[in-house]
Symmetry: D2
Subunit: 250 residues, 4 copies
């Protein structure tokens, strides 16, 4: 059994993680901590892996502290800059236990991670590519970070394959063609009833390939969180790893 502690256990994501750990046949909940609780309770004796789902302003401090206490950490909080990642790497270099791991993922939904990966693979083989993301209307940023990441991946794969600009003979437009990210048009839909969805469209003469990832609720992140917990607990990923695709055998 993998002993899992949760930091941010009363948050919207953290409470799902607590449930998922309790339901997993190969994991058990060690400590469930939240704001104000003493992180030093978490030790290598009572915890194999910590799952950290808090807020960007405190996540770096939490991760540095936990690394210093000798435990592995799976991080779901967002807002990681290169500077912050470097700080984590430095902490890992000085970690008390050999082979300690930190894993950070911008997105734990396996469907979203696969869609992003498949889009990069497919991009060299199509003349046209566009991205449509669809979210609930309370989201404050458009397009989503995931859609930007996907468009950047497509753009880079096209460039590497020597493809030029996508064909587009539009001469008059009042804004309907969307935002262009690395040469790829990105559209953001906001619709009550939806949660988080991404659709990537590729086209050649006479054919289309569509890859769509739907995240219907927060539960969609739990298989990815548990996968990360298992991979980190296996000891096979010392140091810092960023992105769930590293844990998929693709």
């Amino acid at each position: 059994m993998i002993k899992v502690s949760v930091v941010g256990a009363q948050g919207r994501m953290g409470s799902h993680v607590v449930d998922a750990v309790n339901a997993a046949p190969d994991a058990e909940l060690a400590l469930a901590l939240d704001a104000g609780d003493d992180l030093t309770q978490i030790t290598p004796e009572n915890t194999d892996v910590v799952v950290e789902f808090t807020v960007p302003s405190v996540a770096l401090g939490n991760v540095l502290a936990l690394v210093g206490q000798g435990v592995d950490v799976v991080v779901g909080t967002t807002g990681w800059t290169d500077d912050k990642l470097d700080a984590v790497r430095a902490a890992l270099a000085d970690a008390p236990r050999e082979g300690q791991s930190v894993f950070i993922a911008p997105n734990f939904a396996i469907s979203a991670v696969l869609a992003d990966y498949f889009a990069r693979l497919a991009a060299p083989y199509f003349e046209s590519a566009e991205v449509i993301e669809l979210h609930h209307p309370d989201k404050v940023d458009a397009p989503s970070g995931t859609a930007i990441h996907t468009a950047q991946g497509i753009g880079a794969a096209r460039a590497k394959a020597g493809l030029g600009a996508v064909p587009d003979n539009t001469q008059t437009d009042g804004g309907s063609r969307g935002q262009v990210v690395d040469g790829v048009h990105v559209h953001a839909v906001r619709l009550r009833g939806l949660n988080a969805h991404e659709e990537v469209l590729f086209g050649n003469a006479g054919e289309q390939l569509v890859i769509r990832a739907d995240s219907f609720d927060r539960g969609s992140f739990m298989p990815g969180v548990l996968l990360a917990v298992r991979k980190v607990a296996s000891g096979g990923f010392p140091g810092l790893t960023v992105g769930l695709d590293h844990f998929l055998d693709l």
Copy 2:
């Protein structure tokens, strides 16, 4: 048998009309004319209905002449302004035969006409509504006229039902949210391999309704053209009629 003459018979659409008339069990081709041919060959004796698929610069002249010659006309050419429509109405008032008909349709694809109609019906019952149109990359205008028409219909139906603005908490956007037409966000995708497609999305808490019309090729217009020919030939629509929805029993 309905005797059908085609004006613009060698054009991209007109040649399809010739084929469709020849294949229809209840219609037969009378005259197939193109640029330079003498329209006065078309008479009530040899022709029940003329199908006019030419270019905007000559269509009004053709229609006025044909009305004066006493035949009914189904028009697929686009570019009709209110002034032009008034000119057609005036010609019909002076037409040599009683009950003469002219029918003009911005879109002959039955799927597109139904999607537009259903969108107006559904609009009052949903908090959110957006329109995505998708076309081949050689199209010069974005969004499509059909998408603008659909968005306007949704906007009008929402206003009549007393609905306010669609929910949208977007605070940062680089253009991904599309063009706003009468309060409805419209997105235009351009993809090699596609022809002409429209998707209308409606959302409430926990539910979504999607209406999608796909026109894969020009053949998609022929069932609508034949429907119009039959309705006009039936004599039941004297005067000017605009829009294929008038011929659907909805």
Copy 3:
């Protein structure tokens, strides 16, 4: 304010109704009763409309009792046979208050009701029609009652329009063509992560019309329940009404 009592208030659907009534600006919760509670507490003085969401074995008895107590009832419980409906009609004929109403709906999701309605309207205009329904894998019946209803509606509309059988040149099949309901092929998908979805596909040469209704969770029924409560409370629907489409201005 419409005074609403809920019978089955602790059930999966009933608890959502309690929340929806509490959140509605024009309704207030009167009594929330469940199995074992005394229904005679509900009177015309404390309640305008009762929402009944229990189980088929007790629903008829509940409705008959409530009608006898002089209150209007909106029923979400399923399993209504013609005999049961006749019993409700008889009770309404003897009801203590003039113009009393009972409303029964097999489906309260507005998107599903509209999809079903639009499918009947569109059916006469297409050569081909098929239905795909998609649900969570814990559903015990396939295809869904809603999909059967939609297929029956399409079949009836095709027959009325004089359309023959759908084109289908399949000569070898191991079961992939699905179940045929009134001449319409119906396919049932069972997929973890989905809730309740229906897609209706119509095809002509060169064109397709797709109508899709997604119910992501039980909250999707609440706008329909509140609509029914308001319509019944308005007094405009005396007697028995079956089907939410009667309350949509279509």
Copy 4:
């Protein structure tokens, strides 16, 4: 310039190949032969690659003859059994020129090949998987060979990953659940207006991944045919190669 000869040049596919070769910047048409023409006209001097698109009854004979004449062959004709493939391998072993190539593909649409490949990659990560294929109603077999291949790939990938049966609590069904291929439910839709389409659905709690390939017309095969011609002409694939995925850098 790659010199390309076409065998079956007047057939439905072959005539498209002739057009595609003429339009390609790096290929030129050598000989265009059809039934009754003398294949011995094709020599290593006038031809780098032959594209063979005929019928199953003559394809093996054509390929064996062409290999004997010292030219490379790209084959689009279907109906290849293990015995026939062995005969091709034997002919290649005795071929007059060193490093001669034969390439055979069951499907030249890049979108379909990628969808099939991605489905195998994704399969281990989802509880549920189903396949829907959609074709024109003149197709005689259901489900399509491509859909069977995709389902078999998913089934094999699930088995290798140790996944059990897909969750399915269906207790009553009149045939709507489709055909089960290696544990994967496969549904076949036949709709006028469609050509050849495949949709693969994967589901976990709270999430869905959809991969869809649309082939709108025969032109969709041409990018794949040209890719095969270029790869074979490069000399990098001596011997027999089966399947376009070998030519994609995945």
